[in-house]
């Protein structure tokens, strides 16, 4: 990422504007309803967090470059140019106070997809040098080392050894022609290694062939979070190359929202062609196996539990009933929180937001809405399917002194599998 400059940033803003974005800006009537959908505004009451305002620099570039009136205004010297100082101020608005959860895109009365515009605006923030430092670091590590948290293959091998010793099953690596190739997220490798063991147990029971790829184990896509399509493309391409070389039929996205979004939806657009394999979220695959009768449990969770729908899974990928069917198989007392499903409230840490430590206070404040959702159903256990949501929620619960254990759905299923 050399030669970052305002010029490059403005060029990328300009390049980001397509027909949908021009239509969205033309349609906005400044009604302010998007604010009412945003957890950062709802919890702080500060109007600066109004979603559409986060696009103000991009909006002015659109007006000045792509509208007749704006061009005339610019010629006459009446338009306000976008400056470095302004973009520096917008760093908080476009990153720390936006997780690209997309709830605003659901409520805008004229139909503006605001989250789509935020993702596009981040491109110009990166090239103008106004992306947050921690995300720049993560993206640099992802490109150079292969993982945003600096996890290298030997570290994964180490975890694999532990997992194999633990469950007594072999983890297949680089197997040519395996049917499924699951990806892992850094967070899972470091914080939740149980996930890998859970996969091995489940796949064994279901009798499917699978493999990890030593050159493409990492699903986390720092390019997606920071908003750099070049970096996102490069990281996606590593997975695509290995998956196609190994000839797998399915690549399985992990319990990590943005990672799934990047490989499932952004990837083919970035590399400019369809994949030679299909992409499924692990929960989609598990539901498929359940429906085919290939998953059998011999015990159930009896505690009162609820499910936090990760934005990238529910709102962005339409995976809603799958996790509920699976919970029906493995739990006896499942209750939904208010607004659950595609209208669920974000954990507050997605889209790279929780990498910015200086804004922890803001995230914890925004967590207030999750707290109320949880208080409404008083669960004894909270289940989710995104390592990043899980970490953010753990922090929030700790801050508000709420003692609710959290589990990943895949592990929970693996724990209750019928032993052969």
């Amino acid at each position: 990422m050399s030669s970052l400059s305002l010029e490059r940033g403005l060029y990328d803003f300009k390049a980001a504007i397509d027909a949908p974005i021009a239509s969205f800006f033309s349609s906005c009537v400044h009604c302010g309803l998007c604010a009412e959908a945003c957890l950062f505004y709802v919890e702080t009451g500060d109007p600066k967090y109004t979603p559409i305002r986060k696009l103000e620099p991009l909006r002015r570039v659109w007006e000045q470059e792509y509208t007749l009136f704006g061009k005339l205004k610019k010629l006459a010297g009446f338009s306000k140019p976008v400056t470095d100082d302004e973009l520096e101020e917008w760093k908080e608005l476009l990153y720390a106070s936006c997780t690209m959860c997309g709830r605003c895109s659901q409520v805008c009365p004229v139909g503006n997809d605001i989250a789509y515009m935020v993702k596009k605006a981040r491109e110009g923030m990166v090239s103008s040098g106004h992306a947050p430092e921690p995300l720049v670091g993560a993206a640099t590590r992802a490109v150079k080392i292969g993982s945003p948290m600096g996890v290298k293959w030997p570290a994964v091998q180490n975890q694999i050894k532990h997992v194999e010793a633990d469950i007594g099953l072999k983890i297949p690596i680089d197997v040519q022609g395996a049917e499924y190739m699951p990806l892992l997220s850094s967070m899972e490798i470091i914080n939740f290694p149980e996930y890998l063991g859970a996969l091995a147990k489940i796949f064994k029971q279901a009798g499917i062939t699978w493999t990890l790829a030593s050159k493409a184990f990492e699903a986390t896509n720092a390019g997606h979070q920071i908003g750099s399509s070049d970096i996102e493309r490069e990281l996606v391409a590593r997975v695509v190359d290995e998956a196609e070389r190994l000839g797998v039929k399915f690549v399985i996205g992990p319990e990590c929202g943005h990672a799934f979004n990047a490989i499932r939806w952004d990837g083919p657009e970035l590399i400019g062609r369809p994949y030679k394999f299909r992409v499924l979220h692990i929960i989609e695959l598990l539901e498929q196996l359940r429906a085919e009768g290939r998953l059998k449990v011999d015990s159930k969770v009896t505690e009162r539990l609820t499910f936090h729908d990760p934005c990238n899974m529910a709102r962005k990928s339409g995976i809603v009933k799958e996790q509920r069917n699976l919970l029906g198989m493995v739990a006896t007392n499942f209750v939904d929180m208010p607004d659950a499903g595609i209208h669920n409230w974000c954990c507050g840490g997605g889209g790279g937001a929780n990498s910015m430590e200086e804004f922890e206070h803001l995230r914890l404040k925004a967590f207030g809405v999750k707290r109320r959702q949880l208080e409404a159903v008083e669960p004894e256990l909270l289940v989710t399917a995104c390592a990043n949501c899980r970490l953010t929620i753990e922090e929030g619960l700790e801050h508000y002194k709420m003692e609710i254990p959290i589990a990943g759905l895949t592990e929970m299923i693996a724990e209750h599998l019928k032993e052969d």
Partner: protein, 220 residues
Amino acid sequence: MENSMDFLLWVRGPAFDVAVAIFLIGVVARLLEILLLGRKSLHSEPKGAEFSSGLAEVFKRSVPLPDIVKRGAVTLVAGYVFHIGLFIMLFLFVPHIELIESIIGVRWPGLPNPVVDAVTVITLFALIVLLVHRYIQPVKRMLSGFEDYFTWLVTFLPILTGWLAYHRVVDPYPLILGIHILSVQLLLVVLPFTKLMHAFTLFLSRWYNGATYGRRGVQS
């Protein structure tokens, strides 16, 4: 009386033609300005239908989410009242229907004048509520600039002058009728170049948004 009659004839004649021409050319130019930007072709494997979901969203988006109804009650209620009122006044007031018939030759039944009269008063009231709310509600106030207040005025004037003309409050009548028509022309001329353009682009925006949901298999 002479002068006001001349004024009315000018408003209904050359001024009307110019305003309608600017409106039509403006709307088409703005739509082209947007659509010609195009969008990238998509390669990801769709989970659902794009086109039909986009179309469905055009209608579905008119129904707000329950928690937004609570949080944005003033904007939503006054906004709905205003838009429905505008539709009734514009298309169900008999003199307007007659005007449309004289241009395109199609007519439909209208509402009794006293009903439209009541609707007009309610609509004017809703617009005043929206104006005050825009000024006092922190989010809307922060988002608002000259254009927001100007477009409010340009929308308010045709309704107010139409109501005054109907009640013959101003003498001579041709003067107020002429002012009413002129205010409509101002609205027509301003519309393509301001946020009032949402009357057209809203269909595009809702479609794009709904198409994404459809493609991704989200049951919005």
